[in-house]
Symmetry: C2
Subunit: 350 residues, 2 copies
């Protein structure tokens, strides 16, 4: 979906990297996160200030090989060292299907997946993942566990104006972002964390040092360029042609098409979202999430299998900790594929 | 050290990446390693064939964020799933100081560091890391544990003709390589594994999917270009100006300087290595490792502290599982820094 925008932008975001540049492990040995490219750090701060979606003052920036690696770095940094038992990691269902897989991948003694945050009632410390807007269902979220020893990780991958109204700058202790959802450059494998506590930022950096000895310089350089162009165009005279205007319009159109298709079919339902004022786009609109979270109504129990039979590939609710009557579908595919999907969906009858 | 060569090569290895390219998570969805760029895979096979340092026939290639990530992917893939106890991971001392740190970082229940392979005598399955030429001491190695249930990982980061004579193509089940040691591009964070067993390659790919959802496309594209130029120049009419000729000469000069400095000082010793025929350079020479592994003779017990007092920064033997009388020093620093180091070393007296 984003490809066509960047094609239209032509050479503005092209990078040229000579063979002798960025050869070292180090980007800036004096920084806490010594493998973070200074120009990328600068553009991260600038973009958050332009969009107004996150507080960057008094935050350490840690770069990661996608926010996936940063999530693991956060678990490593936040787990108590001396505990006999692994710390519980929870998130309210439906939760991002990769969280349990990542958390339990190496059967760590530091932390373990403990499922749906809503049914979590164990005493003592725990880590709660708050994804807002949420993957898969698109709702804005707050922490739900009512414990005194909770440590929060805020995954804000989708807190950008093409997906949801930016009501105020997020101001949490540990916030994760990624270029794959903000600019569409999944292939770069670049994410960043804004971290209040210096010691946590240091431990996250340590994890990334042990895991991959830093993060691709080439992709950081490229990401810096893309973020710069987005900020430039958002502030400049061609504001109407800005990245977020373009992607907001595409998402608005796609959600309109989706709701029409759902209505035409009559077999499915999707949530309504309350409209809100976006301080960045200066406009009131309903959230238009990166995923459609669709429920099969009636007596279809396994929505994923049912839709597979109709040549629509989805991910079933079970992966997200809820009923198989739900499925998740990406709203970010190329135009042609998206058109095919809504056409197929609209013609399904019971 | 490599920087000056790539500067001299000018634009030959420059990459230009437009903003709309390599946006997807996928490189080739039909491949086992679906995030491996096809051009990079092609250049890996070509370079191994040109240099003759590894068999690539009937091997799966898995790309990683440096060979560090591939080492973890290998541990994940080779650990038995159903065991009650973690599998032991061993390597003969002196071993690469990061192996124990990486292995035990998350306190996995799948595997655990079990120290020096030479003193390992437990029954049952184990994983042995064989680094050849070895980091830190530069010697060629074979597995040392005499067990029937050993699984081997061969770390061949330094099996390139600037460091050691290439006697024959390595032909092991699981071999790790990295651009940081072969071409000098540490900042790319790119490594690759040659894997015989399909199931192991699949599980390694799965680990990298869970850990970082693939590997930077930008760095793969750049690495492909650098490998291509190395192969082109090794085969072409300007063979004398080839990358391996250049780096062989620099290493030969530096080792000569090091041995002279050691002799002048009289306080230290370095190993001699038996000369061998290099099939690639078609020349008999002694290994000239990427690290100097220096022993303080006489009654200096803590060689690292002693040298720090002389303004020489090293890594002490304890990190590598042996006596603090040993230290490791990089032989790959920039010319100026290397000259300073040998000058300082040569003037140290008891």
């Amino acid at each position: 979906m984003y490809e066509s925008y960047w094609q239209k932008k032509g050479d503005e975001t092209t990078v040229v990297i000579p063979g002798w540049q960025f050869m070292s492990y180090f980007s800036d040995a004096t920084r806490l996160c010594w493998f973070l490219e200074p120009e990328f750090a600068k553009q991260i701060v600038r973009l958050h200030n332009v969009v107004g979606n996150a507080v960057t003052e008094n935050r350490h920036i840690v770069v990661g090989t996608g926010s996936t690696q940063l999530f693991q770095a956060a678990l490593y940094a936040l787990s108590p060292c001396a505990e006999a038992e692994p710390i519980s990691v929870v998130s309210a269902a439906p939760y991002y299907s990769s969280y349990p897989l990542i958390t339990d991948c190496l059967k760590s003694r530091l932390y373990k997946w403990a499922g749906d945050a809503r049914s979590f009632s164990k005493n003592g410390p725990y880590i709660e993942l708050v994804t807002s807007p949420n993957n898969p269902d698109g709702f804005a979220r707050r922490s739900v566990v009512n414990g005194s020893e909770g440590i929060l990780i805020h995954d804000l991958a989708y807190y950008w104006p093409q997906y949801t109204p930016i009501s105020s700058p997020a101001n949490y202790d540990l916030m994760l972002f990624t270029v794959s959802k903000s600019t569409g450059h999944a292939g770069m494998r670049i994410g960043w964390a804004l971290v209040k506590d210096e010691d946590v930022a240091r431990k996250m950096t340590k994890y990334i040092e042990i895991n991959t000895i830093g993060v691709s310089k080439d992709s950081q350089v490229r990401a810096a360029k893309v973020l710069k162009v987005i900020s430039d165009n958002s502030e400049g005279p061609n504001e109407g042609d800005s990245f977020f205007e373009f992607s907001y319009r595409v998402m608005a159109k796609r959600w309109k098409q989706l709701r029409e298709a759902v209505q035409q079919s009559g077999l499915f339902s999707v949530s309504d979202f309350p409209p809100q004022l976006c301080m960045f786009l200066n406009r009131v609109f309903e959230p238009q999430p990166a995923f459609a979270w669709i429920k099969c109504e009636g007596d279809i129990e396994d929505c994923e299998s049912f839709l597979r039979g109709k040549k629509i590939l989805t991910r079933g609710g079970k992966h997200f900790g809820v009923s198989p009557k739900y499925v998740r579908i990406s709203m970010l595919d190329r135009d042609k594929n998206y058109e095919t999907f809504v056409r197929r969906l609209s013609t399904i009858r019971s």
